[in-house]
Amino acid sequence: MNAAAPAIIAEGLTKRFQTFTAVDHLDLRIEKGEIAGFIGPNGAGKSTTIRMLCGLLRPSEGHALVAGFDVGQQPEAVREHIGYMSQKFSLYGDLTVRENLRFFGGIYRVARSDMEERTRFAITMAGLQGREDALVRTLAGGWKQRLALGCAILHRPPILFLDEPTSGVEPEARRRFWDLIHDLAAGGVTILVSTHYMDEAEYCNRIALIDRGRLVAMGTPGQLRSRHLGGDLFEISCTPLGAAGQALKDAPGVIDAAIFGDKLHVVLVPGGLDSTTLPGFLQDHGISVQAMRTVAPSLEDVFVQMVSGHHGEQGAP
């Protein structure tokens, strides 16, 4: 595998379970050393895609190369080069911290001379000093997740797949976990991580938004924010909110209007209503406008808009 080749390439990757298509012709290209985030609602196909890339599921169609090896044809070669953390906690609860590390060290054939140092590293990384001999099932969620990460990187894999590693973990522990991910990426490890926490998307170098098995968008958080909203975002305080939303839906220059908390988020393109004419337009519809301002879109705005737009397309005749 040459230095310039991407760590992960997928072309037309598809997985069908009987009649249900979980992953639908997914194209993906992830460079070395990147932290790529898989974002999407539950059931979008994130886990299925990761499992195919790990060689755990056979693609129904298309192919993918991980570390230069075909996941369908050479799954064993792929497994030599990856670390994987499944969505469900999967260390042995009836073994201690040290025993779990020793087990995975043996399975990955980590050189015996390196074992001591790597075990210590994993224990320090997980913050489990002094609890080496505790049964893993007695640990709290955050420690378990960090230990699972420690086990998955014992053999220093160049590529790491993390399937919702922070689900069910308290916010403080989630931040610590992301610090570890960044440390690993700084060391040159390519990381594909899925999450359904929108705030975590900001921690990724690039984001792949997945919905209904399809790749809806991919780019840096900044790119997605500006490119995919398709216009400028305004936040309007007005009453009543519902009527305002209805009125703006078909107004010229408005590509999206959605209630966001107690405010209205509206996306405007040039050529129709603009920031000066919009308040008047609403007042003509009997709506009182208290304030209006431009806001920087959050990724959540982007995802809501894109996912709903996508569903709209699907629903159209």
Binding site: F17, P75, S90, F103, Y108
Partner: protein, 378 residues
């Protein structure tokens, strides 16, 4: 195949077995418990068959005959009756399964003709027990006859040898005491090891699927063969300990004579345990829930093993198609081997046929089990 990975798996599995003392206790104590239940419960001998006696004559001679029957040890008198109808009542109530009736003119007929009938009425609802009781009764009457013959001959001035008695001298080999227990206990050991062994391993893969640890394990470069060997090694030790428990109980507690060599016993037992564990493993690979795997293991081992292994029902008495079927019932080979080692002292050279049967079985099952384990979720 990598020794380090196999060792890592075996070590992990051993820790898990060790940390689960309840399962370990079941694995080690169950066989002993079953051994006691089956060893005592399954005996084809009947002692102290309850009989009712209706002695119509009731004199010294007839009481003597009844005394002789009782002293054989196979019968005990549950009731002494004074009316014929009492027999029916006693049988209806289950007080006896046989009634012995001595007619009123017994002594007179015996004295004048040299023969007199004794009636035996048997409750044939349990045919098996009845047949055995008839056999015992005939034996007891035969003894009495011999005595009477001698007396009669003496009374008529003829030497007993002159009336040409034919004595049937039975000779029994290997199981001299004709104790069915010596025949059954080695079979019980085979049945127990087959049941317990498959149970032990039937959970090992299913448990990893249920707990979610399997997904992590199959994402590593470990191979199917390594997983199988690593997981079987600790259970092989548990299986051997079980075998030692059962065989020791057979030899010392149930006093089955042991005439073979420990080496022959070890080699064949190890082979049998390997087959049994691999069958459980194969089930575990196929069925991803612990409950399902355990039940399938019980189902596919219990019935064939108890019915077709020849441990109680002799294989050569079965109809040809069923007899052919017994060749795929692996415990039959071990039942044959154990009986031969215990009672005949046979060595491996004598036991090549059933040992080869087990070996072929082991190779096929290991091959199937290693292939059946797929490192895929779909």
């Amino acid at each position: 195949m990598n020794i380090r990975r196999i060792f890592a798996l075996a070590y992990k599995e051993t820790l898990q077995i060790w940390r689960d003392p309840r399962s370990l206790a079941i694995a080690l104590l169950m066989p002993l418990m079953q051994m006691t239940l089956l060893g005592y419960g399954v005996s084809l001998d009947i002692k102290h068959v309850p009989v009712c006696v209706y002695d119509q004559e009731n004199n010294q001679q007839t009481r003597g005959i009844i005394g002789d029957i009782v002293s054989s040890g196979w019968f005990s008198i549950s009731r002494t009756l004074t009316r014929q109808v009492g027999i029916r009542h006693a049988m209806d109530r289950g007080d006896c399964i046989a009634a012995i009736v001595i007619p009123a003119n017994f002594s007179r007929r015996l004295a004048s003709t040299g023969s007199a009938p004794v009636q035996a009425i048997l409750d044939a609802t349990d045919v098996n027990t009845t047949n055995i009781a008839i056999g015992y009764l005939q034996g007891a009457i035969g003894e009495i006859n011999a005595g009477i013959d001698a007396q009669w001959a003496a009374a008529h001035g003829i030497q007993p040898s002159q009336i040409g008695q034919v004595d049937l001298v039975q000779s029994t080999w290997f199981n001299e005491t004709l104790d069915s227990r010596n025949f059954i206990i080695p079979g019980v050991v085979a049945v127990i090891l087959a049941l317990v062994g498959a149970q032990l391993t039937s959970l090992t893969i299913a448990r990893e699927w249920e707990r979610g640890t399997m997904e992590q394990l199959i994402s590593t470069p470990v191979t199917a063969l390594e997983v199988m060997l690593g997981k079987l090694i600790p259970y092989f030790v548990v299986g051997l300990v079980d075998a030692v428990f059962c065989l020791a109980a057979a030899a010392w507690w149930f006093k089955v004579p042991f005439r073979g060599s420990i080496m022959t016993l070890f080699v064949t037992t190890a082979l049998f345990i390997l087959v049994v564990l691999d069958i459980g493993y194969l089930i575990s690979v196929r069925i991803r829930s612990q409950l399902g795997a355990s039940q399938v293991a019980l189902l596919i081992t219990l019935l064939p093993t108890t019915l077709l292994s020849g441990y109680t029902f002799p294989i050569d008495q079965m109809p040809a198609p069923i007899r052919a079927l017994t060749f795929i019932v692996y415990p039959r080979y071990y039942v044959t081997i154990l009986r031969a080692i215990f009672l005949k002292g046979s060595g491996l050279a004598d036991l090549w046929a059933p040992s080869l049967g087990l070996l072929i079985y082991a190779v096929i099952v290991i091959w199937l089990a290693a292939r059946a384990f797929q490192k895929r979720l779909d």
